[in-house]
Amino acid sequence: MIATLVEGQALLETVVASLVAGVGVTLAFSIAIWGFGRFADLSRNERPAAAGAAAAAAGLALLGVTAAVVAGIVVMAHK
């Protein structure tokens, strides 16, 4: 009864999309902050290779966040 009233499939997809987008973007942004923090610490300790890896991780995570934000806007624009 409730499933037919609320279009269960659409509601389930809303829940899944919200969880993936909300937690996923926060995770990616946290990794970016962690990466930049580690980059600063490792650079001060003169460990360039590890610092570079941390910066790369941060950059990739930021790219992920940007992609998610753009995807969100594109999804809206095509509705």
Binding site: L5, E7, L11, S18, G22, V23, S30, W34
Partner: protein
């Protein structure tokens, strides 16, 4: 002639509602950014206004739900829509005066349902649409935002828990500029559409548009402008409640609650659920607070907010029904809506005059 006068009053009242929606609901959008210091109040509100305006142009699926899925558009007249709007505006102003972040969406839907029932009986309400597209999402949305924000803040503390607090705080403040912007955009897509839906409903009822028609461009543009102007006017009482009274928020919690809010609103807008942005954002704030420490949430304040949420639909419906009844005392022409408008404006003016006599409603720190 009389029908056209009523239509003009309805459109003006709908835009007035949209304005109250802007300063009432959008306070929630900027509250977390302001309270964590991620953005200066004037910058946060200016940016939110612009993004609300732009967001209103992105999608019209929620507008279609309000116009077609909650009440039977065949029995709806412009006077019913007008009375519903009066119910929504009145409830928005009442909750605003208590600083309670209640749902403008539910006030609008409640007002229209109440006036429709007063005019045409319970047959005017599409029960399946009301339950399936409004009531059940209303319960699920804040719980979902609570869960998403709670999980998110757990992830944040696990990933950056051992980093320097200054770096983490600065990073999330930058992040809040983006998450707050996305939230404002999502808010515009969701909330401005409700006014578009109501104006479209009135145009259909007046015979100016075909049934199931999409909102015309002028409806979209004027709704976008009204909500943006309302946003720019600010809603400091509600900013204070959401930003500081539910939890004492750090930038990571602000980012998590805004991210969760934006994700839930964008996803639900995509699937056409007209949920309350207020419920979602406040659910997210409570989730981000409770996940850090359950007692960090001031549950008394949260309880008052939830109580206002529960009351919103029936209270707005009652006022909407009353407004319709008073309008109909003066017949089916334009006189009733004109008199109700004048009475409402007088009441609003009297309330604001009393408030300003007691002192400015805007806190000195709002700046």
């Amino acid at each position: 002639m009389s029908a056209d006068v009523i239509l003009v009053i309805v459109v003006a009242t709908a835009l007035a509602f949209d304005f109250t929606n802007g300063f009432h609901d959008t306070a929630n959008v900027v509250a977390t950014s302001i309270s964590t210091g991620a953005a200066r109040p004037s910058v946060a509100i200016g940016a939110a206004s612009l993004l609300n305006f732009l967001g209103a142009f992105i999608s019209i699926s929620v507008a279609a739900t309000v116009a077609n899925d909650v009440v039977n558009s065949e029995v709806i007249t412009p006077t019913i829509v007008f009375a519903g709007l009066i119910g929504a505006i009145a409830w928005n102003l009442i909750t605003w005066s208590f600083g309670l972040p209640s749902s403008s969406s539910h006030a609008l839907i409640g007002g229209v349902v109440g006036s429709a029932v007063a005019a045409a009986g319970f047959n005017a309400v599409l029960a399946d649409g009301l339950v399936g597209k409004v009531l059940i999402p209303a319960i699920i949305a804040p719980v979902l935002a609570f869960g998403v924000a709670g999980l998110s803040i757990g992830v944040v503390y696990r990933v950056v828990g051992k980093q320097r607090p200054g770096t983490v705080s600065r990073g999330f403040k930058y992040g809040q500029i983006v998450s707050g912007g996305l939230l404002a955009l999502a808010h515009g897509t969701n909330d401005a559409q409700k006014t578009m839906g109501v104006i479209t409903l009135a145009l259909i009822a007046n015979g100016s548009l075909a049934a199931n028609a999409d909102p015309p461009l002028w409806v979209i543009a004027s709704s976008a402008a009204a909500i943006a102007l309302g946003t720019y006017s600010g809603g400091w009482r509600i900013i204070k409640t959401t930003g500081t009274r539910i939890i004492k928020m750090d930038p990571a919690q602000g980012f998590s609650s805004q991210g969760a809010g934006a994700a839930v609103i964008l996803a639900s807008t995509h699937f056409g659920f007209p949920l309350s942005t207020t419920h979602v954002i406040n659910g997210g704030v409570m989730g981000a607070g409770a996940a850090k420490r359950f007692s960090a949430v001031r549950w008394g304040v949260a309880g008052n907010i939830v109580f206002a949420w529960v009351l919103t639909l029936p209270a707005a419906a009652l006022i909407g029904a009353l407004a319709y009844g008073v309008s109909r005392i003066f017949g089916t022409g334009a006189l009733g809506p004109v008199l109700v408008t004048l009475m409402s404006l007088s009441l609003i003016f009297a309330v604001f005059a009393r408030r300003f006599q007691r002192g400015s409603p805007v806190p000195a720190s709002s700046g």
